[in-house]
């Protein structure tokens, strides 16, 4: 198995002088194609910073992040935009759906930016609505959906451009435990079908279905998960 993601000695520092915060202090990890890595740790441990860097919306201060053989540091803004749009799918804790768009329009949004023709957009969103069991809710606004339904819309949106990597930042954090189980079940299924997933959570039972677990504390990994 080849390494899909390789992170070497990643540092991230915010602010200057007295207010300096070291969010990441030498994080190294590795995720294989088809892997399922859970990143655990208390709040303030640097989980979200790590995810933002993995998702190419933030940049590390030092260290290397190699995505599918490419060092992201060397990519320009436009290439990173391309990576976010085509190769990475985001799932956020608070869903981050656009409130003025219907479920279907939210799912189609990444395809708008990838330049997919409207006809193909509708076909793909219909497929994903079916997969997530939301066909009957397709034309509802997020405010008319339950929390679980919203997160399923967000998952569908993350999958729409067939990404190589799915980043899920506490996807069950805002859901009751039963709905949370449903969402986790869905992510596990996706992983079984070959998706590479990085899951951020602070709940041990949520992390159970992951193949590997790393624990972050104060910006450092306190258990090792080396690449083989």
């Amino acid at each position: 198995m080849s390494a899909m993601i390789q992170v070497n000695n990643l540092y991230k520092t915010y602010g200057r002088g007295e207010a300096r915060v070291h969010a990441l202090q030498g994080v190294s990890l590795c995720i294989h194609q088809g892997g399922f890595l859970a990143v655990m740790g208390p709040s303030g441990s640097g989980k979200t910073t790590l995810m933002n860097i993995l998702g190419c919306i933030d940049t590390q201060t030092t260290g290397d992040y190699i995505f599918a053989g490419t060092n992201v540091k060397r990519l320009n803004t436009q290439s990173k935009v391309y990576l976010r749009n085509r190769r990475i799918g985001f799932i956020f804790q608070s869903f981050f759906l656009l409130p003025s768009l219907t479920a279907r329009q939210n799912i189609e949004l990444p395809m708008v930016y990838s330049g997919t023709p409207p006809k193909d957009r509708h076909k793909k969103s219909a497929e994903l609505l079916e997969l997530t069991g939301l066909t009957s809710r397709a034309d509802h606004l997020p405010s008319e959906l339950s929390g679980g339904q919203r997160q399923r819309v967000a998952i569908a949106r993350a999958l729409v451009n067939s990404p190589s990597l799915i980043l899920a930042d506490e996807p069950t954090g805002n859901l009751d435990s039963r709905t949370g189980d449903d969402i986790m079940h869905m992510l596990c299924n996706l992983n079984r079908q070959g998706a590479t997933i990085v899951l951020i959570t602070h709940e041990r039972d949520v992390a159970e279905c992951a193949k590997e677990v790393v624990v972050l504390k104060d910006g450092q990994i306190i258990n090792e998960a080396e690449c083989s």
């Binding site: 935009v81 990444p110 930016y113």
Partner: protein, 389 residues
Amino acid sequence: MKISDYISIAAQQIKKNMLRTALTVLGIMIGIASMITVISVGNGGQDMINAELQKFGINRVWFFPNDVRGPNDLLTMNDVTLLGDVSGVSEVAPSAYEKSYLSTGRTNIASDVVGTTSSLFTMEQMTFMEGRGISEKDVEYARQVVVLSQEAKEELFDDADAVGEKVSINGQKYTVIGVEKEDQSIYSSFFSGKCYIPVTTFNAMYSNNYMDEISVSVQNTDQLDGVIDNCISRLLNKYGEGTIKIINLTKELRNAQNILDIFKTVVSAVAAIALVVGGIGIMNIMLVTIKERTREIGIRKALGAGEHHILGQFLAEALFYAMLGGLLGLITGIALTKAAGSVLGIEATVSASAATLSVLFSATVGIIFGLMPAYKASKLDPVEALRHE
């Protein structure tokens, strides 16, 4: 991302905030409407004044014998020929005046009788209630024909047709060949009320070969000064300094036009300021919108929107406000122009170029004032934007 995607995003936002949209659009609308109205009514007014001035003599100059210092017996038909030879001159019209009595046998009236040629009718663009003006043949054969003023005709013939009827002037029989139509222009109020006979007939009847005035019109208003200088020097060479009085309204009329131009410029500047204020309104609303939608921008960026997508999205929105304002302003401007035109009695229409210009102008305002906020939005850091509440 397709154009239709940008339009649909902009339309969605604008529909969501109807009141905000209406108020934002209002600024541009007022600016464009006032600009269109000023330009259109101004142009209509200028056209009207120009037409009046043209009749009054913007392209004309009058020569009179200077009766204070020299003999009144000065200008003759020879001078008409002399001035006609000056290059650039279009018409030369002599006029000789006498106060005379006109009679049909039943009614007698007193009127100015003018001996002249066909040139005067051409120059003054006279129109006729019936019949025609004096022709070259009338002058050549010294025919006993008369063109009556509207006033004289009404006094002499009442409502009946006058053309073909006989009128006696100083005891000589004349045939009426036409009746001048008085229009309501400024010009008519000065010069109407005269009866015209061929200059040759006039000379014979009054045994007087001298003209009271000669007026000259030029072909091209731009060459007016040069042509008139030539005319003056010819007459002065012949008769000497101080013998001729000259009336030339050009300078005064040009001043009048300059004043009109200044007025138009000032009012247009005020309208332009209104547009700039409208543009600032758009900019303000766009900045507020972007602040409110910071998280949305973060989400869009995380999902793969490039800077150009975000820039385009907000620029499209600003452009939408401006164009909507421009379009509504155009419609309002057309209505205002019509209303103002009918109140002022000016024939004012919105020209296609004014309409195009106003739409382009509003689009430019939209782009200029939308660019800064849109650029700001496009440069937002996605992590910061996502964290924004």
